[in-house]
Structures are given as C-alpha cells and as structure tokens.
Amino acid sequence: MDWSYDPAPESREIANLKPSYQLFVDGRFTDGGSEPTKSVDPATEEVLAEVGTASESDVDTAVQAARRAYDRVWSRMPGAERAKYLFRIARIVQQRARELAVLESLDNGKPIRESRDVDVPAAAAQLFHHAGWADKLGYAGHGPDPRPLGVAGAVIGWNFPLLTAAAKIGPALACGNTVVLKPAETTPLTALVLAEICQQAQLPPGVVNVLPGGGGVGAALVAHPGVDKVAFTGCTEVGKQIQRTLAGTGRRLTLELGGKGANIAFDDAPIDQAVEGIVNGAFVNQGRARCDRLLVQESIADELLDRLRARAAALRVGDPLDRNTDVGAINSRDRLERITQLADAGDAEGAQRWTSPCPLPQRGFFFAPTVFTDVSPAMRIAREEIFGPVLAVLTFRTPEEAVAKANNTPYGLSAGIWTEKGSRSLWVAQRLRAGVVWANTYNRFDPTAPFGGYQESGLGREGGREGLAAYLAVDDDGGRR
C-alpha cells in the first residue's frame, strides 16, 4: 500500500517569536553595545529575529552585576530560599515547555520530537534536581559547609542550547554562585527566554545574566578577572584556549568538550535494539554525545550493516517542526560545509560511502544519513569529530581489539556496548576510557548521573554529587573536607 505521512508541523506561532531580542543584564533586558546579529532558521535560511550582541563593556557590566548580586544577595541567602527560586524556574520551564521546544527547533534545527521529548524536559529536570541540592550541600561529600566560588562565567554550545544553559545555571545557583551566560552565536533564543523566565520567577537582579554574541564575547567573559569560575561547553580547540587563558590565575574551570564515541556491537548483541541505538547515536541525536564510530564484530558485520542501512534509510529528514521528522537541519552553513568536507575526505581516503536515499528539502542546511564502511583507523572520518549524520564503521575480531580501537583516540566522552553477555559487558565497560558508557542503550542523560569526558573530552563532570564540585570551593590543601 502506498501510504505516507502527511506533514504534521508544529505551528511557529507557539514559539512567540519576537522581532528582536536583547541582552539580559542585572535583571533587565537592554540593548547591547555591539552591532546586533540575525539568528537564522537553519531549515529555511530565513532570519528568525534580530539579536542584540554584547560588547566588552557589556561583559564588564554583567560581571559586575553578578558580583553585586553575589555579594549582597545570593551568597547570603539561605540554601532553602535559593532552592525555592530554582524550583520556580523549573516549574515555569515546564509551563512554557511547548513554546521553548518550538523555539529551540526553529533556532537550532533539531527535530521537534527531540526538543519536545528530550531537550526541554531534561532542562526542567536539571533545574529541579539542582534546586533540591541548594539546602543540602553539606551532605554532598564536599565538607560540612562547602562555600560557593563567586561569579561563574558559562559559555555554551549550539547543540543543546536550553539544556546546557540549565545544566550550568542549575548547579551554579544551587551552590550559591551567580552566573553570566553566553549562549552560542547561532542559538541564543531559548537562553534569552530562560532569562525572561528568571524574571517571571522574580529571581533577584544580577543572579543570572545572559549575553548573546560571538566568540569574542565568550573570550572576553572567560578572561574577565571578575569571573571566579568558567564552565564551557563546546569544541576541544576552544576548550584548550580557555584552559590556557586561565592558566596561572587560580580560577576554576570545567570543560565539556568534543568526543569521538564508539558503539561496540558484539555478535551476541540484541540486534534490533543495537541497530536502533546505533542509528539514534549516529543520526538522530544532534551532538551532546554523538557517536560517530561503530565497531562491529566481523562475524555479524554484514547482517548488522544491512539492517542498519535499512533502518537509516527509513529515517525522515526534513522540516524540524514536523512531528514526524527524525533528522532535522544542520545548525549552520559552516557546519554543513565541514561535514561535507569530512565526508569527501572519507571518499578520498578509500572508504565506501552509502547515503540514505531519503528526499532532502530544497532549502536549508541538510545532510542525508551517511554510512562509511571499509574505514581504517587512520582515516580522518575515524579520528575527527564529525558532528553530522555520518557514521564510520570499523570491524574487530576480539573484545581486546574492540577496546583497543575504541580507546584509540585522544577523546573520551562516551561509548556504547551491545552484548547480551553481562560479564563481557562489564569487562568492556571497565576498560573503556570514557566518561559515560552505555551498555545495551544509548544517549541516556539524567541530572542525577554525572556526565563528562576523559582526556581531551573535558574536565570535571556535570550532574549528580560529582557535578557540584565544579561550583564549590573544594580543592584546597588543608582540612577543607
């Protein structure tokens, strides 16, 4: 039977898109000192809104506002009261969930299904979880009365804009710090609505400040001497620059950087769920732990890859606002070009390319799900982070070889294991040098579960008790704990 889904788009109206957005400093929305930029819908290349951009003096003003709020209000407020503000913010995020989801999909290009079912609920969960910590920090194992650090400067990426903002603001505020947040240049809108939500929650002015802008604003914020702690989510190159910037200052740093995650599929994998997990990791979820390598045991490689291609071919690529879209738009033209370039390098280096026959929209930044086989470990597609719907497939023969190949990268963010044999699963999990290991599942996140990378994938963790350490004064020698 010829049966296809008719378009089922979410209405753009729900996003309450405004013609222009402003900086949020000291509790007020204000114009920025730099030339405003335009935020573009990557699915249509249309301008969504004009967004004010911070200047260096705006950075200074915001840091000062955060400092004042820290000194006069926030650091003195009992944890129980801070908790209530965070609970309020979490509730308003839930109340405005649909609006935030549509706005996120418009601005980022990710499918509405993902922003609706993952990003926004997870953001609310982050705030909710951390709210409860605010008056229980003494029980977190960081000493009986752990102290906040001061002003936290948070610079975040484009892949999970609202969720990452919440994952910084939640623990920072719970621990008694104030925040200056710089969202990614291409995805500032939900962070600015989150600012509005802080206003609705009557959060004291200056506790949260949001400064849209490009890399320059981020660099100025990171280098600002009034910032006591920097939390960064983004690419490894910039992370290294920030670590250099902070070298010798004694200011605290956590980094959540890139990855080159591998899914390892053994011959006794629950094959249909493995295919689903690999497809989700490689093509559907847009990034936080994108898993763009597959290591498959030779004895099931053909069978698994047949199923994988069949499943990937069924993915629907297109309008992010359509509720039936599985794979949305690539966030920006630059990123699309980089993906195209890396895939071309895969061809040039001799890997076999398979591209999903799915139709692509005429306009916008889209890339069809792509699988490379005959990949050798030295190829660029096997070593560099792709950040697009491209999967590089390598094979292995023994568990030892699988672990060696999975670990053969300077990154160490995440990895997946697919096997029905419990002891092997644990054996592999133990040996993988990665901050998150998913066994027979993939891409699960929770505010109670610490997330972050080994080696060049990051410093420190987000989430759980471990994540609080990033926002508390805990590292000194001499009896603090």
């Binding site: 070298a247 599942t441 929770d446 109670t448 579960a449 610490p450 590292d475 020698d477």
Partner: protein
C-alpha cells in the same frame, strides 16, 4: 685507631623499577641548608622524563587492574618497610632539611602514618566518591571513580619526605601511576624512599622518581601527550602559569600549586584523592 670509613651511597634515578644514572650522565651536588655537601644526585634529563612516562604508562593497566584490596596491602607494605628504616630516614631527613636529629623521627613517623592513612583509602574511594544514580527511567546507573592515568607530580620543595609522601600516596592509592620530580635541593630522602618502594611490592613503574632541576623537567612532562594529569605542588612560582598553559595542549587535569607550601603535618583531606580520579557513569537497562 681511626674510626671506620663509611661507605656512602650513590643516589640514582628510579625508573621502571630500576635504579640508574641519568642517561645524560649528569649529576649535581646536593648540600644541606647550610651549604655542606651531602652527596651527588643524578640530574635527570628530558629523556629520563620520557622514559619515566613510558614506564608509568606500561605500569598503569596492571596497577589499575589490581584489586583495591591489593593496592591497599601494597601501600601498607610501604609503611612497614619504612618503619624498619626509621633511623636511616631520620638521619637523612635531619641532614637534608637541616634539623636537629631529635626533630626528625616525628617527621618520619608522620610520613609512615600517611602511607597507612592512604593504604586504608584504596578500597573506599569508590564507596565514598561513587554513586548509584537514581535516574528517571528503567536503568541501572552507576558512577564509578577511576584513576586518571599517568600523573606527573612536582614534589614539594621544602618538605622532602612528608611532603613527598603526602602528594604521592594519594596518586597511587587511587590507581594512578606517577612520575615524580623530587625536591630539587633536597632529593635524597626521595631516593631512599624509592629504595623502599622497590623492596615493598610496589610494581615496577608505578612510581618513578626523577631528581634534578624541576624547571628543566617540568615543561617536558607538562607537554607530554601521554601524561594525563599534573600536580604543580612544587613547581617554581615563575613557571606555574606556563606549565598550566602547556598542559592545556592535551586538556590535562592540573592541580594548582598552593600559594605557600602547606603544613603537611595537618591531617589530610580527600582533595588529593579526588584530584586524580575520573568519574565514569555506566548505564544498563533493567528489563526481562
């Protein structure tokens, strides 16, 4: 009749379980704080540092793979063997740090007790720092602290034994392996400690001890791709920022130097244990 002529020790580097001179053939004179000659120490080169990292990397898998109980027994054994050489350490420490001999035994005892403290930690790190995460879904989710890997330790410059033990023991208790640059001007107790390590079940390469110029060796360790973490405790103030910036090349975990050398006789906290572990979160579905 003249008293017996003593047989002085040759102080060597401790790399991969072996004692040897620097590959560069260099040595430097070590004096006490009043300038009296004590001995010549090997002056390690960047190649010695490189060899130490290779040895530490090789030792890492087995050391991390050993049970926590086993690591605890090894650390306790270090304390036991030190106990048997208390007098030697006291004499050497008094000379190195320029104290009256009667003050030294207390320092040695504190160093021995520090090993005992950390010996007891090895099988509690996961209990205390790990977590069973109550995630919102049908998953069993555990967070387990694991050693960071190869840690380069710039030992405290002043406290040549207690300070050294206070920074080294937590590193290896957590399952890391260490490349230690001993106090530049007071390296001799570190070499004697190496002799203890070599005879007390610590596997080869788990601890590697370099003596020489801290400022010469540290940049090589900070830049080495196969070093995972750096403890700047004894780094000369002038180069700390540079070392930290260099370490950013591979996003090393850096533990900053304290503003002034801490009073190592104070009871330790868990900060140093935590500095060199990585949290790994493992998810598994719960279903039939």
């Amino acid at each position: 009749m003249p008293s017996r002529i003593a047989v002085p020790k040759t102080y060597k580097l401790y790399l991969g379980g072996e004692f040897g001179r620097s590959e560069s053939g260099r040595s430097y004179p070590v004096t006490d704080p009043r300038g009296r000659f004590l001995a010549n120490a090997a002056q390690a080169s960047r190649k010695d540092a490189r060899d130490a990292v290779v040895a530490a990397r090789r030792a890492f898998g087995p050391w991390w793979g050993a049970t926590a109980y086993n690591r605890g027994q090894v650390l306790l054994r270090v304390a036991e063997v030190m106990e048997g050489r208390r007098e030697q350490f006291a004499t050497e420490l008094a000379a190195a740090e320029g104290w009256a001999l009667r003050r030294a035994p207390a320092m040695v005892d504190a160093a021995i007790d520090r090993w005992v403290w950390y010996a007891g930690w090895t099988d509690k790190i996961a209990t205390v720092f790990g977590a069973a995460n109550p995630v919102a879904g049908p998953y069993f989710c555990l967070t387990i602290p694991e050693p960071t890997g190869v840690v380069a330790v710039l030992a405290p410059q002043t406290s040549s034994l207690l300070g050294l033990v206070s920074v080294l023991a937590p590193v290896i208790a957590a399952g890391n392996t260490a490349v230690v640059v001993a106090s530049q001007n007071r390296p001799l107790p570190a070499v004697t400690l190496s002799e203890v390590l070599a005879t007390s079940d610590v596997p080869s390469g788990v601890v590697n001890v370099l003596t020489g110029r801290t400022a010469e060796l540290a940049p090589w360790l900070a830049a080495h791709d196969d070093v995972n973490a750096l403890d700047l405790c004894g780094a000369p103030a002038a180069i700390r920022a540079d070392l930290e910036a260099t370490a950013a090349g591979t996003v090393k975990r850096v533990r900053s130097a304290p503003a002034a050398e801490p009073d190592w006789t104070r009871p330790p906290d868990t900060g140093r244990l935590r500095s060199f572990v990585e949290a790994k979160t493992v998810w598994h579905p719960v279903g039939t």
